[in-house]
Symmetry: C2
């Protein structure tokens, strides 16, 4: 089940993603709202926002969970699949609005793909 009541934690988390174009890790959100909400609440609200097709989640190279805004998804399903990029320098993570073509894989039926790219972001290239 998704969000039913517009509680303070829901509004605060939605607002946080409104003011942020990139992805945010669950851990970072727990830190940010440390004084206002319990970590369990943060995890549970994020989970519901994902159910509703408002946020999507993925794991980074360390297995840490990140969330980012969806685009054109709903409770019926997450449609906008795309790769994610993590800067090895600053650690920031972004959604990449590009298509990656997956070739036909023999002997298997592929339903979804998780793609995580690593490298250096523009801001970190400058500050060498």
């Amino acid at each position: 089940m998704g969000i039913v009541r517009k509680t303070k934690s829901v509004e605060a988390l939605l607002n946080e993603f409104q003011n942020n174009s990139g992805a945010i890790s669950a851990i970072e959100l727990i830190k940010r709202f440390n004084s206002q909400f319990n970590k369990t609440t943060v995890y549970r609200v994020l989970d519901k926002l994902e159910d509703d097709g408002i946020l999507h989640s993925f794991l980074d190279i360390k297995g840490i969970k990140w969330y980012a805004k969806c685009n054109g998804c709903s409770a019926n399903g997450h449609l906008d699949t795309h790769p994610h990029f993590q800067c090895m320098d600053c650690g920031n993570v972004d959604c990449l609005p590009v298509e990656v073509h997956i070739p036909k894989i023999s002997n298997r039926e592929v339903f979804s793909s998780q793609i995580l790219l690593q490298g250096i972001c523009n801001r970190c290239i400058g500050s060498s």
Copy 2:
């Protein structure tokens, strides 16, 4: 540092990958060798085999660590990067010997990519 001494745990783990074409999770290996080696030993030996370019590792959709044989890698570096496939039915994981082309990403320098595909493997398609 990689492997220096051919100990029993090193031989047992190497042997396990010899007899297995797919990937094996660290957790599964710890279970298999539960009566013979401590889990710390398993983790440390796997780590060294990866340093030596004999095995490579990656995380699955749950953030669990998997290992598989390398092909043409060495202590100087892991060269054979490729996608991995996890069957949503049986949970088996394989290395996919295919090239996935990553398009140029603007404003970022991409160094590496982790690609995890999910779907149904051949054996599981049959048993519907």
